[in-house]
Symmetry: none
Subunit: 260 residues, 2 copies
């Protein structure tokens, strides 16, 4: 909202403002509605829309004269989406996240029937564990795994979930905060989605706490999980600056608008 960089074309900025406004609406709009909402004269917007229509980015439907996004907008967006590699884009920012939070940051994807660590950014405090690149984290007893539990489609994780549930049934002591029942799992996963991130606080690896949040694609499905690992239980509480940084980090790299 403040004065941005002076470079660039004034008319282009105005025109692109119209375009992004149209993208944020849910359907076709009349010329005057667009003009009113963008705070521009009607004739100005009309000329912009004429250019957009010629480029295929906009189209006006039938006799109603209302304007909507055009076929080229889809081409453009899908081209952008095709090039977007969630993992690499997230990995690029991982060092900064680790620096800002003074915690160790992990990036994981679902592979090999589990949450697999693919990037590992250590922080100042040397958190020594037996984990490393390629480690597969458990679904129910790690913050990272629980992100997939909460945001993944059911089918891909079903086999792993079943196997961990059997393990939990045989050895309930290892699972302090979750019962090995479907209902209990569903409740846990609902709570995680509600809160926006998953956490474990030292019950599983004594002395270590972790918070993890998802990178969501436009289906709202998890593409990767980002995890912060540390030693201070206070750092994984909802209002902790570390958790806020984690959530902002992941939100900025997800494609979905609404984090429901």
């Amino acid at each position: 909202m403040a004065e941005e960089n002076g470079s660039g074309l004034k008319s282009l900025q105005a025109a692109l403002g119209v375009l992004t406004f149209m993208a944020r609406q849910s359907g076709p709009l009349t010329l005057s509605e667009i003009a009113r909402n963008c705070g521009m004269p009607v004739s100005k917007v009309h000329r912009y829309l004429a250019s957009f229509t010629q480029a295929g980015l906009a189209r006006q439907e039938g006799r109603s004269g209302r304007y909507d996004l055009g076929p080229e907008a889809m081409q453009l967006g899908l081209a952008a989406l095709a090039r977007n590699d969630f993992v690499n884009r997230t990995a690029d920012g991982l060092p900064d996240l680790a620096l800002d939070t003074s915690m160790t940051a992990l990036l994981s994807v679902w592979a090999n029937e589990g949450a697999t660590v693919v990037r590992w950014e250590r922080s100042v405090s040397p958190t020594v564990t037996s984990m490393g690149l390629g480690t597969t984290l458990p679904l129910l007893t790690s913050a990272t795994g629980r992100v997939f539990l909460a945001w993944s489609q059911k089918a891909p994780i079903q086999a792993t979930l079943d196997s961990e549930l059997r393990r939990a049934a045989r050895n309930p002591a290892l699972f302090p905060d979750v019962a090995p029942t479907r209902a209990s799992i569903a409740r846990l996963s609902g709570e995680i989605r509600e809160r926006g991130y998953a956490t474990v606080d030292g019950q599983y690896i004594p002395g270590l706490v972790a918070a993890a949040a998802p990178i969501l694609d436009w289906q709202g499905e998890v593409q990767a999980a980002v995890t912060l690992v540390g030693v201070d239980p206070a750092s994984v509480l909802p209002n902790a600056p570390q958790v806020q940084a984690l959530l902002a980090f992941c939100r900025g790299r997800s494609v979905v608008r609404e984090i429901a």
Copy 2:
């Protein structure tokens, strides 16, 4: 070419030309490459890109200084997708189709010089990690692409077809069941239309089979393709229940009944 409406802004037209050019490329480009290909002075393009970057439609990556499409371009595409009735109606039923067939279900549209995956409903079968949302599938060697080969008008796919034919001519081993000749292509595409769906059975991605059928609009032209991916070759045979479910699914969402 012939359609040169005088209305509109000259600078906008030029700028949008740059934008659509960027969309047609497959990756980030340097400023001078863009300028050369668009036939514009470097400084002009630079100013355009400054505006695009401010609007989030473009971004320049890291220190390399190369320009690529930005996050707002994705939002634009998603907004355009959300207004496509065919995509919406089909996407809604996709989870059920995946569940009924126990196969992974994809929804694709023609964009970005290929069949682009816009929805991805995973099932239990092993997931190919090299593919994901936004992936563009080849025209000749994927079941999805072959749907567009068989039902699309010639013009939109011509460029891609030519390029794949050249690739096939250079490397025939990659194309076991089709010769790189017009006649052979026409025959293949006729067979696909006759049968009502396209299929590949593991020659292209070892161990994976796929069947794909079109969603047709009122003109009998393909608007989207639905693909089932799995591991069992029997599941893509004409009488397989999975194929029958796929055909019923697509028929119910197409406007035309006859698949001529």
